[in-house]
């Protein structure tokens, strides 16, 4: 196997292809079954269009998902894939990424999957900094179960399970990730192919857990949730495109955005810029710092290099005080 150094540290160890597959070859033979107009389609297209650029062998890419509309994603990509159980994709991916440094491992999850039932695995993956790329399709609703509010739904949302309005403030996924000390946190919008591709490339390049929140429209149960960020008249005013080193004014204070800052000061301030009204919504990269990854450390454990031959093994079995019966 050729193992080449790529411009992507996040993919170090993953073999590159002689002839990378095309976007079309990344599409599986399975019929795509989301609702007409679902934001998941454009994300799928963007991912299929972006993967060839990584130059990897298709067989060394794995997509692991939980349960939800978004979690059908792996079926549509002609890579290795697993559609697992609700909320557990980060845990499964952790086992895979830790044992297999030669794979590029992606997680696809929804706002319910990642932040409701799967919240704990998500924050632990970020804390450990496993080399995983997590795509969180946030449509602020439970799509697959037909429209209950999710932990990112705005407070007071009227849904099937909250006819009197939902109670409780929503999570801010970016702030939560920062609180868990995530090394890479970004946000993108389903329909913004350029912005999404850019963020995906940065995520792939990042060595460690990369959380990418993708605002995704669910035309059936939460249509237009992000409409103001898409319609050209409004979006220019509302979207704050993040650039490292640029200056942003927040609450009368000015912040030079430093994605690599240890204190994550600008990242934090920017993460809380949107108070839920979407008056100003940052997209792009909030944070991108280096920290040893969990899987590199496990695989790099010096003890693994010690001699583990048969002699050593059978002497381990024998222990300190064996005796012989003649």
């Amino acid at each position: 196997m050729t193992v080449e150094a790529l411009p992507f540290p996040g993919l170090r160890g993953v073999p590159v292809a002689e002839v990378p597959a095309t976007a079309k070859e990344y599409s599986s033979d399975q019929e795509v079954r989301w609702c007409p107009g679902c934001g998941d389609y454009v994300i799928l297209k963007t991912v299929q269009g972006f993967l060839p650029g990584l130059g990897l062998r298709r067989e060394n890419i794995v997509f692991i998902s939980g349960i939800g509309c978004s979690s059908r994603f792996p079926y549509y990509l002609d890579t290795y894939g697993m559609h697992s159980i609700h909320g557990r994709a980060p845990a499964i991916a952790t086992g895979l990424a830790t044992t297999r440094g030669d794979l590029s491992v992606w997680v696809v999850t929804g706002d319910g999957d990642a932040l409701s039932i799967g919240g704990n695995h998500l924050i632990h993956a970020m804390r450990r900094n496993v080399n995983l790329k997590i795509l969180l399709f946030n449509n602020r609703i439970y799509g697959l179960t037909k429209g209950q509010f999710s932990p990112t739904s705005e407070a007071g949302k009227v849904t099937k399970s909250s006819p009197d309005g939902s109670v409780g403030a929503p999570f801010n996924p970016v702030a939560l990730a920062l609180g868990a000390d995530a090394t890479f946190v970004a946000r993108a919008i389903d329909s913004d192919r350029t912005g999404l591709t850019e963020v995906l490339r940065a995520a792939a390049a990042h060595r460690g857990t990369a959380l990418v929140e993708i605002y995704q429209n669910c035309p059936i149960f939460n249509d237009g949730a992000f409409e103001v960020l898409k319609n050209p008249a409004e979006s220019a005013r509302r979207l704050v495109r993040l650039r490292d080193g640029a200056t942003y004014d927040i609450d009368g204070r000015s912040y030079v955005h430093d994605v690599r800052s240890a204190s994550a000061e600008s990242s934090w301030a920017l993460s809380r810029l949107d108070d839920g009204s979407m008056a100003r919504v940052p997209v792009g990269i909030f944070r991108r710092v280096e920290r040893q990854t969990f899987d590199d450390q496990v695989r790099g454990n010096p003890a693994r290099a010690e001699k583990g031959d048969d002699t050593a093994f059978f002497s381990l079995l024998a222990g300190a005080d064996p005796w012989t019966v003649a």
Partner: protein
Amino acid sequence: MEAKTAKQIDSIVIRFAGDSGDGMQLTGDRFTQESAVFGNDLATLPNFPAEIRAPQGTLAGVSSFQVQVAEHAVLTPGDAPDVLVAMNPAALRVNAGEVARGGTIIVDTQEFTARNLTKAGYRSNPLEDGSLADYTVHPIDMTSLTVAAVKEFGLGRKDAARAKNMFGLGLLSWMYGRPTESTEAFIRSRFAHKPAIREANLAAFRAGWNYGETTEAFAVSYDVRPAPMRPGLYRNITGNTALAYGLMAAARSAGLELFLGAYPITPASDILHELSKHARFGVTTFQAEDEIAGACAAIGASYGGALGVTSTSGPGVCLKSEALGLAVSLELPLVVVDVQRGGPSTGLPTKTEQSDLLQALFGRNGEAPLPVIAPRSPADCFAAAVEAARIAIRYRTPVMLLSDGYLANGSEPWQIPQPGDLPSIDPGFATEPNHETDDGARAFWPYKREPETLARPWAVPGTPGLEHRIGGIEKGDGHGNISYEPGNHDLMVRTRQAKVDRITQVIGDTWVDDPDGDAELLVIGWGSTYGPVAEACARLRKQGNSVAHAHLRALNPFPRDLGEVLRRYRRVVCPEMNLGQLSMLLRAKYLVDVVGHNQVRGLPFQVSEIEDALLIHLLEVGR
């Protein structure tokens, strides 16, 4: 002084008991080790409180370690101790009642203060009030003797006194003529970097020996000769260690990385602890955020071509159950270790029980069959782990390995396998397409099965041309794409069941011990009841009774001949540390009126108890 006499005996049961801080587990371990090296057969039973260190001197804080050593094969740690070493009043109070009538009790008198007696709930001093008249009591001021013996090393009184467990060990070692080298070596290495403590422990140990040798109190020592054992290299081993080694051996035999995803839980944590030491042997341990993540990470590792393992106890199995259903559906190898403890809920975390059998079989939604294997003794945990892993790999299935708290912490001599003893296991990874489509193209079908085993191919990421997607939604037969077709679902449900049923191919026939051949009573057990049941049968046979003993290692599927075996006997009795779980399964499957003998006390059966129960059955069946 004249040489003391040594009396020949064929076995002895000793219990060391003291405060949690008194080092009783270590003392017991060392005595066991000395006896093992000496060549006795033996079995041990540690017993400690759920609290880390309950208040000193209280009944709740008592920790004990029992060992039976013998010149013949030994299957249990013994019912009643012949000798009790009690380091304080609480230890005496908790344990004295179980000592065999006429047995020996050795106490550290220093601890028998008014305060300690009250803490232990004594109204008068049992050493003085005659309540121990049925025993031979040796009151020894072990603390003072120890402090005096170690004076020269300049330790504070507290540190000095702490060596008193070594005094006790020395004394018992003398009494039973144990070889002392291994303990001396142990002390030297354990305290290599603390010379004063090292010397103090050695001195205390020798002082104890000399006390026995010198004083009038102990007129005789005892001699328990080595037991006949198959020639070979032996060691003493606990169930958890043996289980961990078995998993490593299996992975090694299959040429696979071993990945353990686990969350600490009593009494399974030591498996995690043990495996975490062996990165050099290709073992990765992942202490997960919870049991769910432990199981899921192991599934991820298996998907990537490692031997995924997850270890836990009953409450953890609850949490893993959804993930195990996924593993059943994905048909990937996985070993799930359940070290059973007292339930329900948190229950009795440090005690033993066999009450997760039905959970292992049925604790998942839908028809989600998986094989279940149970070891029968601490050393057998090694072989059972190898077998579980082998089945998991060969049949591409999660396998439940049901140990228990007694096996986990108990120990016995184990004949160490030699290179070449281990079976070779072929993971048989898929490397190329396995199917021809209608238009003649070669394709990979992840659910196209091997006809003999019904196992599906194991195609790991990184294999070119075999890209495929799997998941927990019902899959179409063969191609493995999502299928909601009613007939396909029925077929897949039955196929998964058939695959597990086919494991009878490799588990062999029922293990039956029926030396007389004319028994009308069959005792059938599983797991750790093996020791007491086998010993009870042996005793009954010595008394001239015929009784047969079957012991199951595979609880799912059952051996092919099991129905026939059960029907050979007029009565079938099934002793279990639960309310009758195996009984239920046998009755349902074979319509045989299996009678349970059940006990749920958090403790292994006593041999005598089973013997008594069986005697009644023998009377009833008229033999």
